[in-house]
Symmetry: C2
Subunit: 338 residues, 2 copies
DNA sequence: TTGTACGCGTTATCAC
DNA sequence: GTGATAACGCGTACAA
């Protein structure tokens, strides 16, 4: 496990390390022939400059860090693919860590990344993350950070978001147009900005169509299949079945779907369902789930490009928030039978 | 973005850098009071030793690398969670990269990891990877590598695998016991060791029960939904419907399922289905898919522990192959109606 | 118990 | 056009 170093190459060629270094860094104060010779023997010796040493010297690493809350759901993996796509071409490496929805892990991860001298960070906050002081400081110091999906208003930096309000509004309106009147929203923790926006969309769609919402219309379920199952079962037990449910994400909707099926209830006959944050799943379940599709890979690409721009601009940049468009894929689960 | 260094702390406390270093590395040649003072002021100054410098010096990084072919399917993310679980506790960081099923990317990733001086590597080979010379060399040099899932016989190192043969055999036998006689196997690229083993299981289950297999019984479909769809549609077009299909993975099975439904065929009435490499998906589709479950997170944990052992054993280790157990989850898609 | 000095592998800044 | 050398931040053998 002995790495070939610049010295080994220098020794072999009877020249100084600086010459080798120059050959690799393509400065013009080197004779073409020497350069070619060096590059050739270096290749032969399987030498490549040690990025660790380079990082130490340059105080940056040509690496960027990505910290996401989880990657059980396909959402974040798909975003990461977009991120990698951009950075791979530019010769950056992408380090990925997951916080497992824990604030402490998130901080650990970010600090680890920082210590590794990543040149920038792409971040999606965990559920637990309330205190963003640390990030505020980082940003103030000019450290490039791009937030996506789970963002915080307190942080003044590039953000890539989805218009949750708008699409929650459309999704709800779709149900209203189908003729459903008693609609419930399964949401998740109110502390998340996206869930707040989706709730707003749900409410305002009702307002626009002069439909009333009562206390029980918005239920804090969660993002998991089990959350959808649990809340659905409660409603069934209480005989409080709505006409339709707009769920905060597909997983939750699928949970509700499973429970409805278990009790022999028809979808959409008895209860119609709409999901959100489309994953491949939506079209696989039966009945296929109407859902709001987010452009996951595109989110990743956009975040990556913003970060790249920020890194290259060396401090001078105007924080912008890019809002990406989605679409409502209408499928069986919500279409009212004639 | 100025890092606090050991010098800053030394200056502040009017002592030498080595004293600071000692305080952090808990050698006993330091007075307790000085140590406490140093640690306190260090914390106050937000100093933490620079891991990059440490890596350069120690020639290792307290990081381990994970390279997987993809993480679109939930399989690899789940494995990674197991890996992280183990290493997080031990104070290692886990760097993740994906090869996107490309040999070139895989090599790039591995070399990047190597250059980053990761202390070890957990690896699952891409489809394309035939040439494992590079890994052979790494292993020969004593570099810790653990392979999982997509392994190569040519590499003599720790491996975590699943008994594909056994479970393919069981899955096939299950179909036979249900009374299906004309069974087809949708497989994937023969170059993958796991697909070879699953084919063997499929064949031997037939042999045991004295059922014949002809040319068309084993079809090279692929691992994606689209692969299952395509091959299923071909069979439907040719009017060559089998009684049952044993698919190389759930995605492929789900593709077949979608196509069967599209043509109004009943599952399992017309064609029964069994999948493999269970993801959460199997129980979500309708009809729920009978499938062989692999202990994904457990695979990750096991690989991590093996790697840890190898790293700590400093070269002296006997390569072992751990075969993990699974189970066949029988669901609607394969159970013959009475 | 503490401080000095070297080296890890680079690149940049000087000389020559 | 090339070579020597100082840094980057740290750990440690050795000296004090």
């Amino acid at each position: 496990m002995k790495h070939v170093t610049i010295k080994d190459v220098a020794k072999k060629l009877n020249c100084s390390v600086s010459t080798i270094s120059r050959a690799f860094n393509d400065k013009y104060d080197i004779r073409k022939e020497t350069r070619d010779l060096i590059l050739a023997t270096a290749k032969e010796m399987e030498y490549s400059p040690n990025p660790i040493a380079k990082s130490l010297l340059k105080q940056c690493s040509n690496q960027i860090g990505v910290v996401v809350p989880e990657f059980i759901n396909p959402f974040f993996p798909e975003v990461i693919i977009g991120i990698q796509e951009v950075f791979f071409k530019k010769g950056y490496q992408v380090l990925i860590m997951q916080s497992n929805e824990s604030f402490d892990n998130e901080m650990e991860n970010v600090k680890a990344m920082e210590n590794n001298m990543v040149d920038g960070l792409i971040l999606s906050l965990s559920f637990e993350t309330q205190n963003v002081e640390y990030y505020e400081n980082l940003i103030k110091q000019g450290f490039p950070i791009v937030l996506f999906n789970r963002v915080s208003n307190k942080l003044n930096t590039h953000k890539v978001v989805f218009d949750d309000y708008k699409w929650a509004f459309f999704a709800t309106e779709h149900l209203i147009y189908q003729g459903y009147k008693n609609i419930i929203h399964f949401t998740t923790s109110h502390s998340l900005s996206f869930s707040q926006n989706r709730i707003k969309g749900f409410i305002n769609a009702h307002k626009k169509h002069k439909l009333k919402i009562d206390e029980g219309s918005i239920i804090e379920a969660g993002l998991l299949i089990s959350d959808g199952e649990r809340e659905m079962e409660k409603l069934i037990a209480l005989h409080k079945l709505p006409d339709a449910i707009f769920c905060v994400n597909d997983m939750c909707a699928i949970g509700a779907m499973k429970m409805l099926k278990k009790y022999g209830l028809k979808i959409p006959g008895d209860v119609a369902l709409v999901g959100f944050t489309e994953t491949k799943l939506a079209e696989l379940v039966d009945p296929a789930l109407t859902s709001v599709a987010q452009p996951t890979t595109e989110i990743g690409r956009t975040a990556a490009l913003l970060l790249l721009e920020q890194i290259e601009s060396k401090g001078l940049f105007v924080p912008q928030t890019v809002t990406l468009n989605g679409r409502l894929n209408v499928r069986e689960s919500s279409v009212k039978a004639k």
